[in-house]
């Protein structure tokens, strides 16, 4: 993969680094993830050009960390415990006013402690609000989204949850969606 050059960035921020995807993985997981990266998949890449400058865009965030409001219905980890190829395919809405103390994490493949200490480590809701206050983006969207990222059967996630997220993104006039795996 070739890395792009960014004309708007200062020289000390120019990407001269090639990241090592496997620095924090070892053993069998490394073997599996390398294999998966090479499996054939979709080749048709969709493209929606950015229609406005960043400073005019409403931005929403999507996290695969399985984050739900404590006041909301939690994700169900027993679905994956019963069928280890699959996970709860639902999603949750996280308003831009959410703070770390308001959330619970359901993800059986990572240590959730960092997210529980600071939601912004994986879902930077407060940082996005700061960029909006500084005028660097147009607005932080009223709603952000989370789902459980481990699944080998993504069909229901893609067929049921993603279209529902898309409807709400449209209603809230979102231009940019940033997705964040864990």
């Amino acid at each position: 993969m070739e890395s792009a050059t960014l004309t708007c960035w200062p020289s000390h921020m120019q990407p001269t680094k090639t990241i090592d995807s496997y620095r924090f993985v070892d053993g069998i997981a490394k073997k599996v993830l390398k294999r998966w990266a090479g499996l054939p998949g979709e080749t048709q890449v969709p493209w929606t050009p950015l229609a406005s400058p960043l400073s005019e865009c409403t931005v929403a965030l999507v996290s695969s960390a399985g984050i739900a409001l404590k006041s909301d219905h939690p994700f169900d980890p027993d679905i994956e415990r019963r069928d280890p190829w699959f996970a709860d395919p639902s999603y949750r809405v996280l308003p831009r006013t959410v703070r770390t103390g308001d959330i619970q994490v359901c993800h059986l493949h990572i240590n959730p402690a960092f997210t529980e200490q600071d939601l912004n480590s994986v879902l930077p809701i407060e940082r996005l609000g700061e960029l909006a206050e500084m005028g660097e983006i147009g607005a932080a969207a009223p709603s952000n989204y989370s789902y459980m990222g481990y699944t080998l059967r993504p069909e229901r996630l893609l067929r049921e949850s993603v279209p529902a997220m898309v409807r709400q993104l449209r209603e809230e006039h979102v231009a940019i969606v940033m997705l964040i795996p864990v």
């Binding site: 960035w9 921020m13 979709e42 699959f86 480590s121 993603v162």
Partner: protein
């Protein structure tokens, strides 16, 4: 594993008419799902934006990712962000108990090739 499903979800959202970017620790895996724009970062799992409490670091990563939106003008564009994870501290990145698939493969070792090839058995979910 999240880096694959994020690419699949991203692809659908982009196709629905939104400009999308993922911040991925495994850009090759995310790209294999035909994700349109990727900012690659060498951060540990569970701390994609940075350490808990590192407000300045999280803000810089978020800002760099969103600025890349304005620069990445071609489908399948990938930028490798220059952030360095310098700590050599041993981090507990994994879950407290093995994930269900790991336990399953210990008792069903013949299913490993299914896992490796991402060909799960027929849908029961």
């Amino acid at each position: 594993m999240c880096c694959w499903s994020v690419g699949l979800v991203q692809r659908e959202i982009e196709a629905a008419g939104f400009s999308t970017i993922s911040l991925s620790m495994m850009p090759e895996l995310t790209a294999s799902a035909a994700a349109p724009r990727i900012a690659a970062i060498e951060h540990p799992f569970g701390m994609t934006l940075g350490r808990p409490g590192d407000v300045a670091g999280q803000l810089e990563v978020l800002r760099a990712t969103l600025r890349a939106m304005e620069e990445l003008a071609q489908p399948s564009a990938v930028i490798h962000l220059p952030f360095e994870w310098t700590s050599t501290e041993k981090l507990a990145l994994g879950p407290t108990e093995p994930p269900p698939i790991a336990k399953y493969l210990v008792s069903h070792p013949w299913a490993f090739s299914r896992f490796l090839n991402r060909t799960p058995p027929a849908n029961t979910g």
